[in-house]
């Protein structure tokens, strides 16, 4: 199955400027591996060496923060839209 990932500006050097990517995978963890296959080096930008997401990377599936679901194990369906959003964007009363 295939889902779409929106690539934020800070990661576009790794994606050769691409702002979207089509990915395979049944979970966010698998989606990240799929991204890494297409754009080698992207995983270490968004994940710690342990495989956990970095503190300042927020991931949304169809607009919902995955921390309200199963985190990195959140399941993905065909056609889902996944956003990688820097945590420091915005957010000041």
């Amino acid at each position: 199955m295939s889902a779409t990932v929106r690539i934020p500006t800070p990661l576009r050097k790794v994606t050769n400027g691409a702002d979207k990517a089509s990915v395979e995978g049944n979970s966010i963890a698998e989606v990240i591996d799929s991204l890494e296959n297409t754009f080698p080096g992207i995983k270490k930008r968004i994940c710690e060496e342990s495989g956990e997401l970095r503190s300042f990377v927020n991931v949304f599936v169809n607009g919902e923060d995955i921390r309200f679901s199963d985190g990195i194990n959140t399941s993905i369906s065909s056609g889902d839209e996944i956003s990688l959003v820097p945590a420091v964007a915005g957010g000041k009363d």
Partner: protein, 410 residues
């Protein structure tokens, strides 16, 4: 002149040239402005500051904008009031209220927005945009007018009416997002990748955040060049809390004041307290929440500066307070009835938290406390419910008045 060196990542220390950029491309950490403090230290003294304008621009050497380029609608140097009446009720001899609700758009937001607008002009932007829980958008709209910039403001649709009017009046383009603040914030972050605008709290965030330091400078100067023992600061994203501390720390570093560290307490409402909750469970990782609070200006469930706010709590031995929702209105009334200051719901959260801190013995009678009141009560009128207990209607004649006078309950 400005003494900015560059931008630096608060997490990994990577450095970047000064530009409208807020995220480290290596670790996604937030970028912060770095200054040449050796130079600042040589140029600045208590006297040079005291001789400056009666506004936030008296601290221009510590800010990332040249004062000649400043967009100034009269922000800052707001009153620090010795709150003797409220202090007496709470058992505090040296309680001070920093009343930042008297800024041009009636909240502390004018400080960061003054910096951002000035900087947006320096960078050559034509559009100023923001996502807001209400106070920010009024300020962005006003400063945009003064600077002749087009403004777009994005806000959660359930906002208080007076906050919407308070931005719309300046002719800003108003976009009500069907969702909460965090939804609007995520959306605007994606929008900022497409539109080449100065998003006040996204790509301009490193500069924006610096404006709030001036609150720290001011209270120190107004207390006679010394830091208080305690600060009680409202928490939404956590950024204000970290920046008040940064301001105080910079004055210590530049030897403008003695090295004494205030306890930096954080005040969050029960219906949205992700930072206080993480701190209480001894974690630096924030678990986001879906806000449900009458303190809408504090309703950020996914606080961007949460981890840094927790660092400040740890460094300064501060407490993270959670104000019960049903105390907020009573606290607003308490401040109004004792000190003549009508604050919005966020201020109610601060006063409720202050009471808790005193009750728990964390603040002592003879210690100096500054409570930060950051927004005006007229902005959140609908939260006040119908205050009918002290109103009566009366015919315009003496006998009618004599009759209704006896109806007063107090």
């Amino acid at each position: 002149m400005s003494y900015v060196l560059n931008l630096i990542c608060r997490e990994c220390g990577a450095e970047y040239p000064t530009q409208p950029l807020n995220v480290c491309e290596f670790c996604f950490g937030p970028l912060e402005v770095q200054y040449d403090f050796d130079q600042i230290k040589n140029k600045v003294s208590r006297k040079t500051i005291s001789n400056g304008p009666n506004s936030m621009w008296r601290y221009s050497q510590f800010l990332p904008v040249d004062i000649e380029n400043s967009i100034d609608i009269g922000t800052g140097f707001t009153p620090l009031i010795h709150a003797k009446n409220l202090g007496k009720q709470l058992g505090l001899d040296y309680l001070y209220i920093k009343n930042d609700s008297v800024n041009p758009t009636f909240s502390f937001k004018d400080r960061p927005v003054a910096i951002t607008t000035s900087k947006a002009l320096e960078f050559g932007f034509e559009v100023l945009a923001c996502v807001s829980t209400g106070n920010l958008m009024g300020s962005v709209a006003a400063h945009g007018s003064k600077a002749n910039l087009d403004t777009y403001v994005f806000y959660p649709q359930d906002l208080e009416v007076s906050k919407i009017f308070g931005a719309a009046v300046y002719g800003s383009k108003m976009i009500a997002i069907e969702g909460n603040y965090d939804d609007a914030n995520r959306f605007c972050s994606e929008l900022s990748d497409i539109y080449p605008w100065a998003f006040v709290n996204i790509n301009m965030r490193p500069f924006y955040a610096e404006g709030s330091k001036t609150l720290g400078y001011e209270i120190v100067e107004q207390l006679g060049w010394k830091a208080p023992d305690h600060c009680v600061v409202p928490g939404a994203s956590g950024e204000l809390h970290t920046k008040v501390w940064k301001g105080i720390q910079e004055f210590i570093d530049c030897e403008l004041i003695e090295n004494s560290i205030p306890k930096m307490h954080l005040a969050q409402p029960e219906g949205c307290s992700p930072i206080s909750s993480a701190f209480k469970s001894k974690s630096r990782q924030i678990q986001p929440v879906k806000p449900s609070t009458i303190a809408k200006s504090l309703a950020i469930g996914n606080p961007a500066s949460g981890p840094f706010s927790i660092d400040v709590l740890n460094q300064t031995h501060g407490s993270a307070e959670i104000a019960a929702e049903d105390t907020i209105i009573d606290s607003i009334k308490l401040l109004a009835e004792t000190e003549g200051i009508f604050t919005e719901t966020a201020g109610g959260v601060v006063i409720s938290s202050l009471k808790e801190l005193v009750t728990k013995g964390k603040i002592k009678k003879d210690e100096t406390v500054v409570a930060f009141i950051t927004g005006n009560g007229l902005k959140t009128l609908e939260s006040m419910g119908e205050i009918k207990e002290n109103t009566v209607s009366c015919m315009p004649n003496i006998s009618s008045f004599d009759r209704v006078k006896s109806n007063f309950k107090f």
